[in-house]
């Protein structure tokens, strides 16, 4: 077991003596309808062992067949990361004894990954750009889920036995591995986070995965080593797994830098091992020692024939790449005249896509933006949900905006209509109808209310008659109150002036 760990070194002190080198491995679960090598569904959250068949259970006599949609997704990811697509490659068996794969091996690509040697320019908060090299992106299959019973916190250690659900076994995975990222210094944690964030956005824009870190459809392993500043000697790295949020990526890098510096300062050496990130404490704990690559006894998968994407196919897929998310944002920023901060706030609030969709439904950008970042953001906040999870669609918001523009609603009524939609009362027009929220601009109804208000406040009438037109505000207020906010305030003011002259 572990001996007493050396103390963590203060982050600034780490930087005074050491240079971090980062490496990031990101696994992305594809959102294909079926698994990598069989026709089983891939839905998240199904009853255990209900999305399985002889192939993904590794039963004798079954044979895998590659899912074409998964290969296409892999190639598109590779192209979006500026990789070269391998003209020929095989799958390999990675052999190991662990019950999360019923076959006793994982089918993966080994030394013949489908995409190699790319890059992505990662933009940091202050605008600095770090080019991260992409070593490879390869196809493989996910493993089953284990539930460890009898130990503390569901961990293997101390568990009496384990329970296995193979629904996830065989779901297509793309593993994206960076080249070593040197010279990031104090920004290493930030670079790691920015890279994973940008990769997530990129893959989301390709529509090949829902990239939900909270549901495990995107997972990150953080490789980190330290070398004494100026030594030019690469240190031994650790690989931290279980890093399940963007914030955790940043924390894991920072923690490993501080921990490794403590070990090195004390004259110790870093053990090449897998470590586990602990969400609660933000620390890492040792896992298994890494087996060496040979120990997995990789060999070409005899049951699957090679994949040889033709140049025509690759170019066809290149033609399907969407506008890159950061280029898209830049275009939107210019079109809407946003400052860097405004754009960042919209992105962080998850509002950008919603506003765009609202604009696409015919709303002016300014109003669409104002609704999503103000009133709707408040509602989401109050309900404790993400903006996108509010039960209102961009089309419905656009309709409310259109009703305001047409003079059928004022802002106050519009908010009540939105409340109605959020409460499940139907489309905006239905809510207007049911709640009787239309602005009253019909002179007949308004004149009665205006006359009543004027009669109640003769002193104000005198002031208006004496030329103090701004005193009309008090009457407008009274009329609005009497009509429950539904009067057309502009028309009311006009009527007051008319009737006092």
């Amino acid at each position: 077991m572990t001996t007493t760990a050396p103390a963590l070194v203060d982050f600034d002190d780490v930087l005074a003596r050491y240079e971090p080198t980062l490496g990031l491995e990101v696994h992305v679960e594809l959102s294909t309808a079926t698994k990598m090598f069989c026709g089983c569904p891939t839905d998240f959250g199904a009853e255990p062992n209900t999305q399985v068949c002889p192939t993904c259970l590794g039963l004798p006599g079954s044979l895998p067949v590659v899912n074409q949609a998964a290969v296409e997704a892999a190639i598109r990811i590779g192209l979006a990361l500026n990789c070269s697509i391998a003209p020929w490659g095989r799958f390999a068996r990675k052999n190991y004894f662990y019950p999360d794969m019923p076959k006793n091996f994982q089918t993966s690509q080994y030394d013949e990954p489908i995409a190699v040697n790319g890059w992505m320019d990662v933009q940091l908060e202050d605008g600095e750009v770090v080019r991260v090299g992409i070593e490879r992106a390869h196809m493989e299959e996910d493993t089953g889920k284990s539930l460890h019973v009898g130990g503390a916190d569901g961990r293997i250690h101390g568990a009496e036995y384990s329970l296995l659900d193979y629904n996830r076994a065989g779901v297509p995975l793309i593993e994206i591995v960076t080249k070593m990222i040197p010279d990031t210094g104090a920004r290493a944690p930030e670079v790691a986070r920015a890279y994973v964030t940008q990769l997530r956005d990129l893959i989301k824009s390709l529509g090949v995965s829902d990239v939900r870190m909270d549901q495990g459809s995107m997972r990150c392993d953080v490789n980190l080593s330290l070398s004494p500043t100026g030594s030019g000697v690469l240190g031994t790295r650790t690989e931290t797994k279980n890093v399940n949020s963007l914030r955790s990526v940043e924390r894991a890098v920072r923690f490993e830098m501080q921990r490794q510096a403590g070990v090195l300062d004390g004259g110790g050496s870093i053990v090449q091992e897998t470590r586990h990130f602990e969400e609660q404490s933000g620390s890492t704990r040792p896992g298994r020692r890494k087996e060496t690559s040979e120990d997995y006894r990789y060999f070409p998968e005899p049951d699957l024939v090679p994949i040889a994407p033709s140049a025509e196919w690759v170019e066809e897929l290149r033609g399907t790449l969407p506008e890159l998310p950061w280029e898209h944002r830049k275009r939107i920023q210019e079109a809407w005249g946003l400052s860097d901060e405004e754009l960042r706030d919209l992105v962080n609030a998850g509002a950008l896509e919603l506003i765009e969709a609202t604009v696409a439904e015919g709303a002016p950008a300014g109003e669409a933006r104002s609704w999503w970042v103000a009133y709707l953001a408040q509602q989401a906040n109050m309900r404790g949900v993400e903006l996108a999870d509010l039960p209102i669609t961009p089309a419905q918001v656009a309709r409310v905006i259109a009703l305001v523009a047409a003079g059928d609603l004022n802002n106050k009524l519009a908010r009540q209509v939105v409340d109605g939609v959020l409460a499940g009362e139907g489309e905006p027009d239905e809510v207007v109808e049911k709640r009787g929220l239309k602005v009253v601009s019909d002179d007949g109804a308004l004149i009665a209310a205006v006359d009543e208000a004027l009669a109640a406040q003769p002193d104000v009438v005198e002031k208006i008659k004496g030329g103090k037109v701004q005193a009309a505000g008090a009457i407008v207020g009274a009329v609005m109150k009497a009509t429950k906010g539904q009067a057309d305030a502009k028309r009311v003011r006009e009527l007051i002036i008319e009737r006092c002259s």
Binding site: E25, T50, Q51, C53, A69, L163, K179, S293
Partner: protein, 118 residues
């Protein structure tokens, strides 16, 4: 720094036989551990000898194959065999667990997993 980077599938294996062709007892013991086989001390010697013979035979293929012969992993000249992304019926939970030695909560129950943590 890919976790799995290492020698190529068809490349040299650092644990393979050295130039003299001898495979050591330690190497046999290591392989036995990877395959989760309980091998006695006597068997280590027996298998070391037998593996030497096998490796020697395989090595002769390398002598025959010239530069212009690519390593062959698949006997059938096929490539790009794909399946459309269409769901097919699989097994029910009951069918899946029917042959399991032990099951619990709709899952396969397996003995304590020792030594490793994924």
């Amino acid at each position: 720094m890919p976790a799995d980077s290492g020698p190529a599938v068809s490349g040299p294996d650092s644990r393979g036989p050295d130039s003299t062709g001898a495979i050591s007892r330690d190497e046999v013991a290591h392989l036995a551990r990877l395959a989760r086989l309980a091998v006695t001390d006597d068997e280590l010697d027996v298998f070391a000898g037998q593996l030497d013979v096998i490796l020697g035979a395989v090595a002769r293929v390398g002598e025959v194959a010239a530069e212009d012969i690519p390593p062959t992993s698949h006997a059938v000249p096929l490539q790009n065999v794909f399946r459309p992304d269409v769901r097919r019926p699989g097994l029910s939970q009951e069918q899946t667990l029917a042959c399991a030695p032990a099951a619990e909560e709709g899952r396969f129950r397996v003995p304590r997993i020792l030594g490793e943590e994924q």
